[in-house]
């Protein structure tokens, strides 16, 4: 059964749009839900909401800094979900976090609390195929789509399995490395998108290091869309608020729409 996240992304794709999914660290500032609303108003097709974890091993300095700042404000998974449940943004939300936060609460309880807060999908980058089965089942039972990640080193057989099991969309990691802004897009990003498109008709989004409108356009020559995290967070960490975030995302939207 196709969930809300996948249905919405397919619908936008069929309209000819390139998909734009910005990432916002939950609890980063008192007005962080205004940031979520601002990026939606600026043209985001879905929003990834990071639930900060103490030990984000897949993240580079920018998301680490954002996580630390959010945690220092007393942010918890519960506080983020409570705040999300008070807003209605009109596009699907996807929670991104590390598995221990789900495990501590209990897989089913965590999945249900995501659903209750209106969150459509979940990304848990430290759950590879071999470990994610039980979580995927509980998430599905709660109506939450689990997005799986593929990496440039993923061999073909695994890639097809990841694409087959992923729900919502398939997340292609652009390069070998952690999250963070980059000066250029790696050649591996296009290869990743092409390999995934060859095995699935689910929406294929590329993330990790996509920083500028021009890079987003470049990646979308092959991919259905992009996830943009660190570059947006950088603007927020440097003092920008909802307006700056909206402007940044509007720039991406405009470039993608212009092709």
């Amino acid at each position: 059964m196709t969930g809300r996240l996948e249905a919405e992304l397919r619908r936008r794709r069929s309209e000819g749009a390139k998909l734009l999914v910005p990432y916002v660290t939950g609890g980063l500032s008192p007005d962080w839900t205004d940031v979520v609303q601002a990026v939606v108003a600026a043209g985001a097709d879905a929003v990834e909401v990071g639930i900060p974890f103490s030990d984000p091993v897949m993240d580079g300095p920018t998301i680490q800094e954002a996580s630390i700042r959010a945690l220092a404000r007393g942010t918890t998974p519960e506080s983020i979900l409570a705040e999300l449940s008070r807003i209605d943004v009109g596009v699907p939300l996807v929670a991104m976090t590390y598995y221990n936060l789900a495990f501590r609460m209990g897989d089913l309880r965590f999945a249900r609390s995501l659903a209750a807060a209106g969150v459509a999908g979940a990304i848990l980058p430290d759950l590879p195929l071999e470990e994610s089965g039980p979580w995927e089942a509980e998430a599905a039972a709660a109506g939450v789509e689990t997005v799986l990640l593929a990496a440039p080193v993923t061999p073909d057989g695994r890639l097809a399995e990841i694409a087959g099991r992923s729900r919502g969309f398939v997340y292609g990691v652009s390069r070998m490395g952690v999250t963070g802004e980059r000066a250029s897009v790696a050649a591996s990003a296009g290869v990743m998108a092409k390999r995934l498109k060859a095995v699935t008709d689910k929406p294929v989004l590329i993330g990790f290091g996509v920083s500028t409108p021009q890079q987003a356009v470049e990646v979308c020559a092959e991919a259905d869309g992009v996830v943009v995290a660190s570059a947006l967070l950088r603007a927020l960490l440097d003092g920008g608020g909802p307006e700056a975030a909206g402007d940044f995302v509007a720039g991406l939207r405009e470039a993608l729409d212009a092709g």
Binding site: D55, V57, F103, M105, L129, A151, V153, M176, G177, V178
Partner: protein, 405 residues
């Protein structure tokens, strides 16, 4: 009941294909690192069954690292405590601790896999020094991640690593200790995995590390089993004691006695007692017991010993604890400093602060939890040179303060 090679049992056999020891272990790694874990699992599985590989490793351990390490009867300490204390002298290994046993094995595997760069985390610096040593010997590039707090309190080891040609990268994030050094090593690895092997220093991380590192450390237990049998007329010690950070020296010595009636005791620092004060959790690639808050955020450990300053523990120890095969008491920093001085004075052996935890437990429990007259085997897994400056600072230059003579 037999405690043989049952998969997933408490017999310290091979874990299941899913890397589980009972409920613990596994491979909770980002997809980008899974192929490297699979490659390592295959390479180690093959090498461990290959007589040529084993012979090459044995020769390195003998001719380069100085194995077998002796078993020393600590007569003065025994007399004082009323229990018979035997010391497994892994502090006499080249580089000063048991860490070299694991690293030489992983260096051979690195060459076998065609990689030429090592990254490692280190707390006390002993694993970093061992890795830098092997890198020098094998001609590998070597980067060691070390928390800023540990760079400070283990300055001598930082200099040793530099002398050996390794680059030490101080880690400023989080608690600036071992946990954060592991995060940073993993971040490096995910960016460099095609040329780089992550030389993990303890029985933790994703499958196959907990199993592989235990197997590479079991030489301690195998030797000690034969040495105690020779000394005790075929008998076994009543108690086998080791300190537990991630748990590699403990796993190594336990592996030699898990099929006997010996009591197995892993001593944790009071401020890092993942077993007892921790809850099941997932971090750094495996499910184990973990100090964490109610939401699952990892807590910081606190210990006088940089090598034990870690909020988690290797998954097999979590399993041995739950299965009731081993016990994991704690000791306080003050008792550790006393034990550090007591062994120095009674036996002329300055231990590292890590095995001083094992000694502190023996000192506390002799004649209480350990009946008088018992034979106690202690894994003396590291020497105290690296700690001398820090202990001098802690004792304010007054050795003997609080050591009771």
């Amino acid at each position: 009941m037999t405690m043989g090679e049952t998969i997933g049992g408490a017999g310290m056999g091979r874990p299941g294909d899913d890397g589980r020891f009972g409920d613990f272990g596994g491979r909770f790694m980002p997809e980008a690192l899974v192929p490297a874990c699979l490659e390592l699992e295959a390479a180690f599985g093959q090498a461990w069954g290959d007589a040529g590989f084993r012979a090459e490793l044995d020769a390195l351990l003998r001719d380069y690292a100085g194995r077998p390490s002796p078993l020393t009867e600590a007569r003065n300490l025994s007399e004082r405590l009323g229990v018979r204390v035997l010391l497994k002298r892994d502090e006499l290994n080249h580089t000063g601790s048991h860490k070299i046993n694991n690293v030489l094995g992983q260096a051979l595997l690195t060459r076998r896999m065609g990689k030429r760069r090592l990254v490692a985390e280190t707390g006390a610096g002993q694993h970093g020094v061992a890795t830098a040593t092997a890198a020098a010997l094998f001609g590998f590039d070597c980067i060691v991640y070390m928390g800023e707090v540990d760079v400070e309190r283990q300055a001598l080891n930082v200099f040793r690593m530099n002398l050996l040609g390794a680059e030490v990268r101080p880690v400023a994030s989080g608690s600036r200790t071992l946990k954060d050094a592991i995060n940073e090593a993993l971040r490096d690895w995910v960016s460099s995995v095609e040329t780089t092997h992550y030389c993990l220093g303890s029985v933790m991380g994703p499958h196959p590390y907990p199993w592989m590192v235990r197997e590479l450390q079991r030489v301690i237990g195998d030797e000690a089993r034969a040495q105690t049998a020779a000394l005790l007329d075929g008998g076994i010690p009543d108690v086998v004691v080791a300190c537990v950070g991630g748990g590699s020296n403990a796993a190594g010595i336990f592996a030699g006695f898990v099929d006997t009636d010996a009591r197995l005791v892993g001593v944790q620092p009071e401020g890092g007692a993942a077993i007892g004060r921790g809850l099941p959790g997932v971090v750094h690639g495996s499910k184990s017991l973990l100090l964490q808050d109610e939401h699952g955020q990892v807590k910081e450990a606190h210990s006088v010993s940089a090598g034990l300053d870690y909020p988690g523990v290797g998954p097999e120890h979590a399993h041995l604890a739950v299965a009731g095969r081993a016990e994991y008491p704690t000791v306080a920093d003050g008792a550790v400093l006393e034990a550090f001085q007591l062994l120095s004075r009674t036996e002329g052996i300055i231990p590292a602060l890590e095995p001083a935890h094992a000694l502190a437990w023996v000192m506390r429990e002799a004649g209480r939890g350990i009946p008088s007259g018992s034979t106690v085997l202690v894994n003396l897994c590291g020497r105290g040179d690296k700690d001398a400056v820090e202990v001098m600072r802690l004792l304010k230059g007054d050795p003997g303060a609080g050591a009771g003579g």
